[in-house]
């Protein structure tokens, strides 16, 4: 599994001339509280050229651009929600690692509830529909039982 992931990472790496690690020291904001907000937002945004990686983890140049963009918006006084809306407006819902709750994702978000609900319902139904046990005997078995009972 990691092999596959690694291949993708390798792809990302090979795209960059100077491979670098995720968030760079020179990107970090002076205000620790604002930086923490930036990190929190970045963890939920997808690197568009990578496979299932957040821009916070990614080494791709595009991810770096997005990290800088997020920090610039924050410096201009945007709230977390406004920053995310701004990025989604530019790149679409695809950038959100946590999908929005809407009609097109209803089944996705409800899947845990549906699974537990259907399972519980199934268990409840089955537990009420137990066949009486004694009637399982076939004719041969009944005859055998009779014979045994009659034995002195």
């Amino acid at each position: 599994m990691t092999r596959f992931r690694s291949t993708i990472l390798a792809l990302c790496l090979s795209l960059t001339a100077l491979p670098a690690l995720a968030v760079q020291p020179n990107e970090v904001l002076k205000d620790p509280a604002m930086e923490a907000r930036a990190r929190h937002i970045s963890e939920g945004l997808r690197c568009l050229v990578c496979q299932n990686q957040s821009i916070d983890d990614s080494d791709a140049p595009l991810a770096k651009d997005l990290r800088v963009l997020v920090r610039e918006r924050l410096k201009e006084g945007d709230s977390n929600g406004q920053v995310i809306d701004y990025v989604v407006a530019r790149y679409g819902e695809f950038v959100l690692l946590r999908p929005v709750f809407g009609w097109h994702t209803l089944l996705l978000w409800l899947s845990p509830l549906l699974a537990v609900g259907f399972g519980a319902f199934g268990i409840w139904r089955l537990s009420r529909r137990r066949p009486p046990k004694a009637d399982d005997l076939s004719h041969a078995e009944k005859a055998e039982v009779e014979a045994l009972l009659k034995r002195p």
Partner: protein
């Protein structure tokens, strides 16, 4: 020449597995017992042939035979020997060959295992196993031939992806496949039982060791992969909810559910139909996982469409086996007789709850992994389902499960007493509460969930200890207060009881490790030699940056001295960037310093022309417990396997030996 013989051996294995799949079916119709016995030797023959083919490919890799396409694409003369060997399965063709090798290994294992499996069940099982082998060997030969030659042969190969040049590749895929593919045996047993239309405790007892073997290996494989990703990818994450990781997690969850429902079936003759369904689903999820990884579907829908031959072939295999098995199930299941009544509050009831939550968790991972694909196919809308989604949905399903684990153990079979069980676990509740409150007070203002997680971990571990303790003390008039007697009885408990307790305690240890990550810290700085970067309770000083050289790479290494905040020396760490000239790729090597079960994790960032470097330092408290706990879980599975019950066949009812006229119609 050896390569050609290897290719031939693979073709021979194809023929042999076909013989093994067809002959018993024919024998069943003609009633020829001798013909039925062909299955055993054929299974051994198939395994021998595939083993030879695998060795032939390994030989080509080790001798750097660049007239073989697969070697050209994945090897290099300067590569260290161990990576020449592990490189055999570091690519699509080779890893599929390893897949069928393990499939055939399990086939041969079933054929030779000395168990008291009834002959018809055994033959049918080998038949199903052989048909899976046949189809996958056919897949390799027709779409993924590892023995293809190339002319003219180049002088040098393209080398293996540097990220894969790690000890992790040597052991992670074999372990993972032993787990993944091991569930083919339980699948084969389930289908065989459906073909025969007969399923009972004998079946459960025959299947349980195979489920345990597969589950233990899968646990090890996943844990190993997780640790590999943790130290190799350079940002310290240990689980990414990546589709390919999910592909291995799904059979693991389903396999865990299977392991538990088999117990109910073996002891109480209940949940038969459900257990058979789970056995089918578990291997189906392994197949889906193989499809996800091997078809290239998840990389992009387009890469799937551009070379659909492999993907479509595996999709056909999926349809054949999953569809076939489920149809057979739908046809036969109503005729399987249910047995073993139980009250809702009972050991069985708790195990049903275990199955409910495990299957729901598995379904959630399944939907989360495949939903974006389906949505794009149906509506063209592109969405991402990443870690935040899985954390939000998976954890709420996992927590009730953790509560049930010790509770179910404390309940009696058939009809349990919830209040008595809770009383028995009083010590576990108390310790959990103290641990959680203590941790919360100690780290006031920190993360909320982390102390809760520690509490859960402690609850599970103490719960396991109490389970052994209570069983050793005995119940009713057998109860003893003497410590010596308790000790002797504890030693005398069945190994499966110890295995269960160990595995459950292992879950607790994993939970402790995960909880610890709530307190992980990260430090980031651009430093020159002499400069410092701090993280949590530790400070790293950069001593020097210098070049080092490996067999097939050049490395820029940063040497660090680690101290705690008080200035006491803790140790050293080296982290570097390795440049592999053959592929012109750079890979980060993280520097790890283990302190107890915690780690300091250093990762080298950008190296500037002026001599300064970007340095990232993590402190990961308790992180090693995640993998130690997994090892304990797998060890619990292994211990269970040595139980006497696993070696001795289930008692067969004398009724089965009555003359045919007296045997009731099923």
């Amino acid at each position: 020449m050896i390569v050609e013989i290897g290719h031939y051996a693979l073709a021979l294995a194809l023929a042999l597995s076909l013989v093994q799949a067809v002959m018993p079916a024919w024998a069943a119709r003609s009633g020829d017992a001798a013909l039925r016995e062909v299955a055993g030797p054929a299974a051994l023959g198939t395994f021998a042939c595939i083993l030879f083919a695998f060795c032939a490919l390994t030989y080509a890799h080790v001798t750097s035979d660049f007239s073989v396409q697969n070697v050209v694409e994945n090897s290099h003369t300067a590569k260290p020997l161990i990576y020449k060997i592990s490189g055999v399965w570091g690519n699509h063709e080779g890893s599929m060959l390893l897949w069928v090798l393990i499939l055939a290994l399990f086939g041969a294992w079933v054929a030779t295992a000395k168990t008291s499996v009834p002959p018809v069940l055994r033959t049918n099982t080998l038949m199903v196993q052989a048909s899976v082998t046949f189809v996958f060997v056919l897949f390799i030969i027709t779409t993924s031939n590892p023995f293809a030659r190339v002319a003219p042969a180049p002088l040098e190969g393209n080398d293996l992806n540097p990220l894969l040049q790690d000890f992790g590749l040597a052991i992670h895929p074999p372990l993972l496949y032993l787990g993944y593919v091991g569930f083919s045996v339980t699948f084969a047993f389930a289908v065989a039982a459906l073909i025969e239309g007969r399923i009972d405790a004998v079946w459960a007892r025959a299947v349980r060791p195979w489920a345990l073997i597969a589950w233990s290996f899968l646990t090890l494989g996943i844990a190993m992969g997780s640790y590999w990703a943790y130290y190799e990818l350079g940002w310290g994450g240990w689980w990414f909810w990546d589709p390919v990781e999910n592909a291995s997690l799904m059979p693991w969850i389903a396999g865990t559910a299977l392991l538990h429902s088999i117990v109910v079936m073996e002891k109480r003759d209940a949940l038969k139909v459900w257990t058979v369904l789970l056995a089918i689903l578990t291997f189906s999820l392994s197949l889906v996982g193989t499809f996800i990884v091997r078809s290239g579907l998840l990389t992009s829908v387009h890469s799937f469409a551009s070379d659909p031959s492999r993907g479509v072939f595996i999709l056909a295999i999926l349809a054949l086996f999953i569809g076939g098995a489920l149809s057979l199930f739908a046809w036969r299941a109503p005729s399987l007789r249910q047995g073993g009544l139980f009250a809702p509050i009972s050991r069985e009831g708790a195990l049903v709850m275990n199955n409910l939550f495990l299957v729901a968790a598995c379904a959630t991972v399944f939907v989360g992994t495949l939903y974006p694909l389906l949505l794009e196919m149906l509506t063209g809308e592109k969405i991402s389902v990443g870690p935040p989604f899985f954390n939000w949905t998976f954890i709420p399903l996992a927590l009730p499960l953790l509560v049930i684990v010790p509770f179910g153990q404390a309940l009696a079979w058939k009809r349990g007493d919830a209040a008595a069980a809770a009383q028995r676990l009083l010590a576990a509740f108390a310790v959990a509460l103290v641990v959680a409150l203590g941790a919360a007070a100690w780290t006031w203002g920190g993360p909320v969930m982390a102390p809760v997680g520690l509490g859960f971990g402690a609850y599970l571990i103490i719960g396991s200890v109490l389970e052994i303790w209570a069983r050793a003390r005995g119940y009713g008039h057998n109860r003893t207060r003497d410590f010596g007697t308790t000790w002797r009885r504890a030693i005398g408990l069945p190994r499966s009881a110890w295995g269960t307790a160990l595995a459950h305690a292992g879950v607790g240890v994993v939970v402790l490790g995960i909880a610890g990550q709530g307190w992980a810290t990260e430090g980031l700085a651009t430093i020159r030699p002499g400069g410092q970067v701090a993280s949590g309770p530790y400070v790293a000083t950069l001593d020097r940056v210098g070049p080092t050289k490996g067999e097939n790479f050049e490395e820029t290494t940063a040497f660090l001295t680690l101290r705690n905040r008080a200035g006491d020396y803790v140790g050293t760490a080296e982290t570097g960037k390795r440049f592999y000239p053959s592929r012109r790729m750079t890979v980060t090597e993280s520097g790890l310093k283990t302190i107890g079960v915690s780690q300091i994790y250093a990762s080298l960032g950008e190296v500037m022309p002026d001599g300064s470097i970007g340095m990232r330092l993590y402190y990961k408290p308790l992180v090693l417990l995640i993998w130690i706990g997994s090892l304990i879980m797998a060890a619990g599975g292994g211990l269970s396997l040595t139980d006497r019950r696993m070696r001795v066949g289930a008692p067969v009812k004398a009724r089965a030996k009555l003359p045919p006229s007296a045997v009731p119609a099923e």
